[in-house]
Amino acid sequence: MFPWWIYVAFKQMFPSRRGVSFFAAVSILGVALGVLGLFGTQSVMNGFHAKISQKLRDTTGDVIIKQGGRPISEWKGVLEKLSAYPEVVAAEPCAKGPVMMTFNRVPVFPILRSYDTIRDKSVLPMEKGFIRLGKLDELDDDSVILGQRLAYAMRANVGDTVEVYSPAMLDNVGKDEIPMAARLKVVALLRTDFSSVDSNVALVSLRRMQELYSLGDSIHEICLRLKDPSMDEDFAIRISKEVSPLSVSTWLDANESFLSVIKMEKTMMSIIILLIIIVASFSICISLYTSVLRKTRETGLMCAMGARPWHIICIYCLQGLLIGVVGSLAGLALTVLVMHFRESLVEIMVGRERLAEFYYFSSLPVKYEFADAWRACVFATGLCTLAGFIPALRAAAMRASEAMRNE
């Protein structure tokens, strides 16, 4: 048999024959909405973070080996050594850089990235369906694969021919000469669903890239894809001696500032949304306080019947706690529910196209993190209990004799 004060606290929120009191229902709803706001936002931010991280890995590789920005000429031995590691799924010699590309006299300035057509072992996970409207096999030294959004922007299609000018061409031509553009045929489109890639990257063969950038046989970097991506840091440290004087970095180093912005955004939004829960706890506090004043006599009688002040404190704290726990759990459930229908909600509210335009993805990513849920619940429950504590102190300070006199 649980103690009587738990019984009374529970009954005050869920009175006999009335189900649930208005106060309890509204308070629980308020807390649930607060937790929904907090946990929902955090989950979406996590989703962004995770998805962007994944895309960054996919497009840059897990580990990158460079030579301080200068071309690497002695790379074949290193590549072979690195390929031999069982941890390495793919090792790719890579060159990339900005070019000017025109089609029908419309110029764009994408990043051109090499694709090693000879070894055909790219860090780009082409198996993920990145290639649309064409085949990767058709990529040769005279063709190009355009990012889908880039192609849209240029109004170029598969089968069209685009002209490419590289910075090296300008160096090589004499005065009063016009650089000769490389004419490349579009053989496929690249679609990673990562807007900054799809609208800004084109793929050519490694040989073509070396030619465009006058690299000879050199490359810019060696990119590695690992079997276990979470081991990237460890692996980078392990191989750093072996490949020196080349330097080793991870995808994270390359994109640190970008990711830290997302983290920062998550923190800021969480702080603002915490206010909802704080406001909810204020109204719980006020409601309980009013109820304490209203129940002066009943409280007095309970004291006369043998209740101790700490019982009275427990009755009100427990109500706050109960609201906090039930509200938090309801909030978590509500979050999962809302996130389940997020696509429809986003479509109603902003439209799918706009989402793809402003954020990097065409669908809203969500990632639940246990720590977020836990923190939101503990915070909400703690605040609600505290909200009960203030009225509880007031109730316990009431002396039975005076409560009884209150007529």
Partner: protein, 285 residues
């Protein structure tokens, strides 16, 4: 010093005065440990002697308060002496009424003898045990099993129905046994005439009905002493009569002593002993 309570008036219904066995509340044996049972039997034996026509004052008084003084700080910084040496003695199964003008200190006196309020001077005994010097926790534990309260305002917990309100008292006193208590509460509510109102919330009950629930609640723990502060003060005359009738009948049939504060001389006449209080002193009867 006044000691008017020290008299010999006998209970009116002596047969039932010793009758714990017919109580509607929780049986004594359930309430106290086995060791306490001996004491209780002694007490019952004492009652039997009384029942045999001997002096009532021989047994240990249920309540004895001697020379209680109590003052409150008044707003102008002085002291307001409310109780100035009030004394009372209530024997087992005896009913005592207390009348007096408003402001005489009756409520304060009741709060004092039930240890809801600390006293400035004097001493209080419950069943022969001095309690005014105990910690409030110990007082509360004893009070819960020893006393029942009925007030002018009914003080029912609005979220609980009639039956649950009655049972709550047993829960707080730590005497709750799911089946026994429920049955005892049902029986008591039936005795106060609310057989078909068990599941009603207080908001759905009339004033008289609420007070009946409050009376049942006061009796559920089989208290030795009932304290009632103007229990019919909020009720109309007819209902007040009815309730008081039933209340006095139940008190004696449950074997509880009674301290009744009332303004109605008719009610006062029906108790074993009628006392008057004036200016903080209980007058000799």
């Amino acid at each position: 010093m006044n000691n008017p309570a020290d008299d010999n008036s006998a209970p009116k219904e002596q047969d039932s005065a010793c009758g714990y066995q017919n109580g509607g509340g929780i049986p004594r044996e359930d309430m106290y440990g086995a060791g306490a049972k001996v004491q209780i039997e002694n007490a019952v034996n004492a009652d039997k002697e009384i029942g045999a026509g001997e002096d009532l004052s021989k047994g240990t008084p249920v309540l004895e308060a001697i020379d209680i003084t109590k003052s409150f700080p008044s707003p102008d910084g002085g002291k307001l002496e409310v109780l100035r040496g009030a004394s009372i003695k209530i024997h087992r199964a005896q009913s005592v009424s207390l009348m007096g003008e408003s402001g005489a200190g009756k409520t304060t006196f009741m709060n004092a003898v039930s240890a809801l309020e600390r006293i400035d001077g004097g001493s209080i005994f419950w069943d022969g045990e001095r309690i005014d010097k105990l910690f409030s926790g110990a007082q509360a534990a004893r009070r819960a099993r020893f006393m029942g309260f009925v007030f002018q305002s009914y003080c029912l917990v609005p979220e609980l129905d009639a039956l649950e309100n009655v049972m709550l008292s047993a829960r707080i006193a730590g005497l709750y046994k799911p089946f026994k208590t429920r049955k005892a509460a049902r029986d008591l509510l039936e005795k106060v005439g609310l057989k078909d109102r068990l599941k009603y919330l207080p908001s759905k009950l009339s004033g008289g009905e609420k007070q009946r629930v409050a009376i049942a609640r006061a009796l559920i723990n089989s208290p030795s002493l009932l304290l009632a502060d103007e229990p019919t003060g909020n009720l109309d005359e007819t209902t007040g009569e009815e309730i008081m009738d039933m209340f006095l009948r139940l008190c004696s049939s449950e074997g509880a002593s009674l301290l009744l504060i009332t303004h109605n001389p008719d009610f006062a006449k029906r108790t074993d002993k009628a006392l008057k209080m004036s200016k903080g002193i209980i007058l000799p009867s």
